[in-house]
Amino acid sequence: MAKKENIKKETAKSSGLPEDTIEKELSILNLGPTHPATHGIFQNVLKMDGEIIHEATPTVGYIHRAFEKLAERRPYNQITPITDRLNYCSSPINNMGWHMTVEKLINVQVPKRVEYMRVIIMELARIADHLICNSVIGVDTGAMTGFLYIFQWREKIYDIYESICGARLTTNIGRIGGFEREWSPKTWELIHNFLKEYPKGLKEFSNLLERNTIFMDRTVNCGPISADMALDYGFTGPNLRAAGVDYDVRVATPYSSYQDFEFIIPVGRSGDTYDRFMVRQEEMWQSLKIIEQAIKNMPKDQPFHANVPDFYLPPKEEVYNNMEALIYHFKIVMGESDVPKGEIYHCVEGGNGELGYYLVSDGGRTPYRLHFRRPCFIYYQAYPEMIKGSMLSDAIITMSSMNVIAGELDA
């Protein structure tokens, strides 16, 4: 009520009209749950004064699927498909993060070659993730071209996934201990082709948007967040780096041999939409660099999986001819592999930031408790504060530049 009075007074002052002739109130706008501009199921109840947002109340949980409860009943190898559906734009990172968590719990060291293969696939996933996010910022600012040009490269990455594991979006790639099979020559060919041709595509995309005046006018100073506030709100990943904090899990607590690779963590300064866009752009270049290094330094003559018979399915010909293999096969398929008691927090740098797995095992075949630290869920709560006082159309691009993925938000 007090707010309304204030607005009235201000309007009277600015327009020069007597105060009692002014009737003004905030209108309420439901942005979502299904709105074509929000790319997913997000609802924001906005209190608006004309086109200026005064207050936003996000409602989340529209695609909540109770993953944490589901995980308490599933054997460890059956939880991988659940993790696919968190951030479905970069499922392989989620899969690998989960495998590494379980490997940490059962104390398995995978061969260096597997770690490098994982790095390749995770960086490809990061490219796919950032590529969607950045091209969608273009779409929301009215530049469809970039999106149409760049999207073929995501398809090429999906082709690579497909040749490794048979799936494209919800990949379920890799196994606890390594990969399900050796990568075929075709896979390597696809990766090499991608590495050769993608830089051209990305360059073209950069030329379209990075120094484009119209694009910069729309994105610079749009939805900024300071480094202090970002840290207070638990930001991680590109959104935190855009605010100027050089925190990257790959460097801070290296996993999967990331310490072997040379790359730069790009940081922004103002944490606005343009900085978030630029950080993601640069990260794609860095990912390419990492993949090249991984291919170049890939250890030879090492297996593609660790020796963990309790979790890694034996090859079929052995199952049919060998008693032990048959027993292990049965144990794994029926979900009868026990794990030690323990409590673990493992985190990986997902597409959106620190993706954490907090796992408590009571020694049984399923986790006692599994909690996913989902970066989206944590940083999306700063959204109302970031869009306060901005225009509706700025709110839309702020959301797409934060890369809020519904699956990760709602778990």
Partner: protein, 166 residues
């Protein structure tokens, strides 16, 4: 490295708080502290504000139920990005009185995480500005992640696990 973090934080906490630090351990190389419910807010704000420890980042906050189904817990993962130190702080309290002070005044990011914990475990965070359900529907009257609510309908017997003795 983790042992050093454990010793350092433990010494600091022991020095500052006479009681309340119930347990300090190192499961899987991760410094873990169990703090009594009465002291949790003080301990957390001390961990954040102490210039030497400087756990300025709340990585994660989540709920937990003990195996006897009589206690609930809240688990905080804190991070000092400058020195790259991580610790875990746990607190447990009986289910009959699931009330602990909110950490929203320490980290703004605790807001939704506490709402999520309330939503799934029914932990009441005292002082939270807007403690209501977040992922589940508002009309829900149970706290679904508690072990008393099994995943599948227990009256079904066609999906029994008895064969494997579990």
């Amino acid at each position: 490295m983790s042992q050093e973090i454990l010793d350092k934080v433990n010494a600091k906490l022991k020095e500052k708080f006479e009681s309340g630090i119930e347990h300090a351990e190192l499961p899987y190389d991760f410094a873990t502290f169990t703090v009594s419910k009465e002291k949790i807010h003080e301990v957390l704000s001390f961990l954040k504000s102490d210039p030497d420890l400087n756990f300025h980042f709340l990585t994660d906050l989540t709920g937990f139920q003990t195996e006897d189904e009589k206690h609930l817990g809240v688990i905080y993962h804190l991070h000092n990005m400058v020195k790259n130190m991580r610790i875990r702080v746990k607190t447990f309290f009986p289910m009959s009185n699931p009330e602990i002070p909110s950490a929203v005044d320490i980290w703004a990011g605790a807001n939704w995480m506490e709402r999520e914990t309330y939503d799934f475990y029914g932990v009441k965070f005292k002082g939270h500005p807007n403690l209501k359900r977040i992922l589940n529907v508002d009309e829900m009257d149970i706290f679904p992640l508690r072990k008393e609510y099994p995943l599948e309908d227990q009256s079904r017997d066609d999906k029994s696990d008895k064969m494997f003795g579990r």
